[in-house]
Structure formats: structure tokens, C-alpha cells
Subunit: 335 residues, 2 copies
Amino acid sequence: MNASTNRKWMLTRRPVGLPKRSDFSFETAPVPEPADGQILVRTHYISLDPAMRGWMNDARSYVPPIPLGDVMRAGAVGEVVASRHPGWKAGDHAVGMFGVQDYAAADPAGVQRADPSLAPLPLFLSVLGMPGMTAYFGLLDIGNPQPGQTVVVSAASGAVGALVGQIARIKGARAVGLAGGPDKCAYVTGELGFDACIDYKNDDVGRGLTKNCPNGIDVYFDNVGGDILDLCLARLARRARVIICGAISQYNNTGPVKGPANYLSLLVNNARMEGFVVFNYAARYGEGARDMATWLGEGRLKSREDIVDGIETFPETLLKLFSGENFGKLMIKAV
Amino acid sequence: MNASTNRKWMLTRRPVGLPKRSDFSFETAPVPEPADGQILVRTHYISLDPAMRGWMNDARSYVPPIPLGDVMRAGAVGEVVASRHPGWKAGDHAVGMFGVQDYAAADPAGVQRADPSLAPLPLFLSVLGMPGMTAYFGLLDIGNPQPGQTVVVSAASGAVGALVGQIARIKGARAVGLAGGPDKCAYVTGELGFDACIDYKNDDVGRGLTKNCPNGIDVYFDNVGGDILDLCLARLARRARVIICGAISQYNNTGPVKGPANYLSLLVNNARMEGFVVFNYAARYGEGARDMATWLGEGRLKSREDIVDGIETFPETLLKLFSGENFGKLMIKAV
């Protein structure tokens, strides 16, 4: 790599099941020229998120599919190296959907500023970025946990789940996590301060939920779908709220999605299941970021990043999300 | 039968799949004596509802299971023939959970008055009774349809569904029904005034929904579950509300319930699925009954009762609900 070339990962095939190296091509091109009104960003950290799997499918969703032959869509944080927009200058830092590439020429609409004096750059892809806003608005706006209520969250050591449980506790609720393996569970209770964590790889999840949620589950923040969603549905408290944030257990299915067989628990408990896409809260990101930055500054929110070196590792690094191998917010350090 | 005996249907076995005659016993006993504070009611009409199937199971739910050996639980309307309660006198009419029997000695708590000058008695088991309150609060409180929005309801010629569509239209929304067979569909559009009705027994339901809901489904009031729920989920508009009122397609399953495989449509559409039990609105029945009675008086609500003669027919008559053979609110005329 040198300063005049742009390495980029293109989506060239729609994956069937788990994405494979051969679904992408790694190309080198000249660094793009920003058009009038655009900025040129050198990406420093590229965010890897479960939602990327959905964007690869040719299906109606909240955003259009990534066209075949286009750069793989991804959030990233980087430095402005050239600007043809009056609001931005070289040296500014920016967060946006810059893609899995070294350089992006971008329209500043939809790009946020990142202030490196406020927090290290990777945090603009975690606590102060999309996972942070996802946890904040999903839990508070839809889940609305009350003091003393029990909040359960799956993928509790992951980028979103870790924040959900910590915010729940800041609001006076009990937080019960689900994570894979003793190390992650120890982190969730020890470092993050959850009240309990159930090891879904080694424990009996149903029994763990029953034991740790003696009055039922008031809020379940679901990142995984599948059997865990069903086990939680079977244990809802009256007027419970189930937040459908993701379903990572189902994203690489080649057969049909497993629907929640226990959904009639919603009926008998007057409960609600609600989905959301964080982009719909864009107008309120300021509010979320302000609270999250305050809690971060007060030491009440901890975050852990799992940073892998080198944009060339993209396809293999992405798979860590689906195997549960990552520990903390997964991202690639581009430079 | 004579005036000194009480015929009653007892639940003697927990049904597996469809209830059978042999799950019940038909017994004759002396007419009960009301205890101090109780009333003695002669039942005139007994309500048969899909929810009865759930009450027969030994499962945690919103009401305890019917104990084996007890009278089969059912709503009914009848006449007070003796009273040991100062608030009631012989000749009053009452609606309550009097069971599948000729006479019930009942505590008046939870018993409502029925005024036969306001409407014929059967209507206190339909428009002005539990199905009416179910349609009213489920649609308006959870569904909250706005003028011009599209409301879809399954079992549209049934006791609840027929009212849901008519209330939707009163509120300025479009009503699209699903019903089984051309006669029921003709009734739903012709008599009840729905904008469209899809014959789920003969039409391609998915295509019918797509055609009749060009802007997606804003409110889906689900009485059936199963494949129809999935077809509706796949066609939700943004911020849609799915009301889980029942799942008659699943009640007699001997295998697991079919969960809605398309539930991730809630996520991409920021939509909500919410269950409810009408009993939780008991404190607001007055409000619902007042509106329903007004609309009934203005001719804006039509209702159809399917009345079968004779309490002795109970097990066979109940099955009409699950085969879809009933046409309108199913009830038994006891005397």
C-alpha cells in the first residue's frame, strides 16, 4: 500500500450461508478524487457488525442491498485528508459509512464529526457510535426499564449487549446477560457489573434464566433469535417488552428462519415484541451521544474493543462475529 | 330437563388435539342453592369461544386451567331466578362466567348486568360482550388505526373479526378481511362493508394481501396464527402494529406451535407485535360498551349470531369453531 492507492473489498457474489472469501474481491485502485462538495477520508478503523450480513442479501430491508461489484458497506472512522466542502477541512475526524477501503470520497450528509480529544477513535465505532446508539435507544425508548425490573440481554459481551446491561443498571434495573464461555461471562459480571451472566455454551439456559429472573423477564433485548429467544419468551413477566435488535443465530441460515414458537406468551402476558433499526433515531443521536459520553466520562460505562490489524484480513475477521470468536466490539485497524 | 335439575358439562380429561366427546361428561344434579351473597342464574345463551380450548390445558396462562372434574368454563347470559345479594333481584339479567350448565350459583363480583331493552340477549355475548370488548380494545388501544391506514383481520366473519373491520372503518381506516369460503367473504364485504375480503380456502392469500394492501399493512389483527400470520408479517408497513388476539390454527396442535418465521419483519419495519387478554381491560368495559351500543344503535355495527339449540350438543357444537363451520358468533341456546 502507498499513499496513492486505495485498497478496497468489493462484494462480488451474494453469500449463501456464511460469507466466504470468494464472495469478495480485494482490489487496488487509485485514491478517489473528491467531487465538489465532498470530502476525502482516510479510514483508520472499520467497524464489523452483524447487520453487514443482511446488507449482502438481495432482499427488501431497511436499506437497499449492496449492489454486486460495489465496495462492501461498513461504518468507519477516519481523518479528512482533503475537503471540497466548506464545513470540513483536512485534519478533521469523521464517522460515516465509508466502506471497507483505505480511502472514501464521501458526501458529508450523514457523516458525523469525531472529536479525538473526547475519546479514542475506536470508541466512535462502539460506545459513541452505532452500537452505542443501538443499545441506548433500543433499551430506553422501546424497553423502558424501570428500577428493580429485570433486563435480559443476549450477546452480553458484544458491542451492543455490553452497553445494554450497563445502561440498564445505570437506570436502576437488574441486568442478566447471556454470553458464550466462562471468560466472557466473567467479564460480563466482573468488569461490566451485570447481576448475573449465563454461559449459553455450557449452562442450561432455561434453568439459568428461571433462577436469575425469579419474577420473570421485564425486558429482553434480543441480538440472537433462535432457541434463546424462545426460552426468554417462555419466562416473560406481565407487560414485558421484547426488543428485536438482531438475530445473529439466523443470519447465515440456508433454510428458513426459526420463528419464535413461544410467541403466544405475548398474548397471555399482555407483552410486546418490537423491532427497530437505529438509523430511525438519527435525529436523536445527539441526545444519546451526550448521555453516553457523560457516563463514559464518569466511568460508569466500560467498553472493550477487539481490533484486528489490516484491511486485508476482512473476510476472515468478519467470520469471528458469527462464530462468537470476537470478544468486544470487532473492528479492523486500517492504518 | 325440569326446573329442579341442573344439567352440566364437566371437563374430565385434558384434550390432546381437538377436544373429543370423551373429554367431557354430561351430568345431572339438583339445581344449586345460592349461598349468602350469591345469585342463582338460569342460563339462556352460552358462549362458545376459541379461548376455551386454552383453558382446558394444564398450562400457565392468564387464568388457571379448568380443574378436572369441574364444570366447563364458559361465558353466558341468563336471568336471575333467586338472589341472596342486595344488589340483584329475580328477573334481572346477568352476563358472567356461568359455565356450560342450566343453572349457576354465582358471586356477583365479575357479573355484569344485561338490559334486554337495549339489545336482544345474544348480543350481550357478542357485540356488547367479550368479543365486542376484545375487538374494541385490541384494535383501538393496541392497533390505533389512523384514517386511511390499512387494517387486516383474520377470521373476519367471526365474532371478533367482524367487529374489528367495522370499527376500523368507523375510524376511517380501510378494512381487509380473511375468511374461509365465498359465502363468508361475500358477507364480509357485502353486509359488513369491508373494503375487501380474501378467501383463504380458495385464494392465494399472499397475492390477495399484496393486491389489497398496496401500501403495506398498518395494523394486522391476528386471530389465527400460522401461515397467515407469516404472510401478513412479510407485508408490514413501517411502524405497523400486529395484535396477537388468538391463534386458532395452533390451538389443537399436538406438535409444537409454528412460530412466525417472518418475525424479523418487525425489525426492518420498526414494527410491533403485541398480545393482549381482554380481561385486563375490565376496568374500561363501560367505555367500550357505550361506544359499541351507540354504533349498534346507529346501524353502523352489524352482528351475526350462530345459535345452536340445546346444551346437550356442547362438544359437537364447540368443534364448529375449529373447523370454521360456524358463521358468526357461536353460542348455545340453553332454554
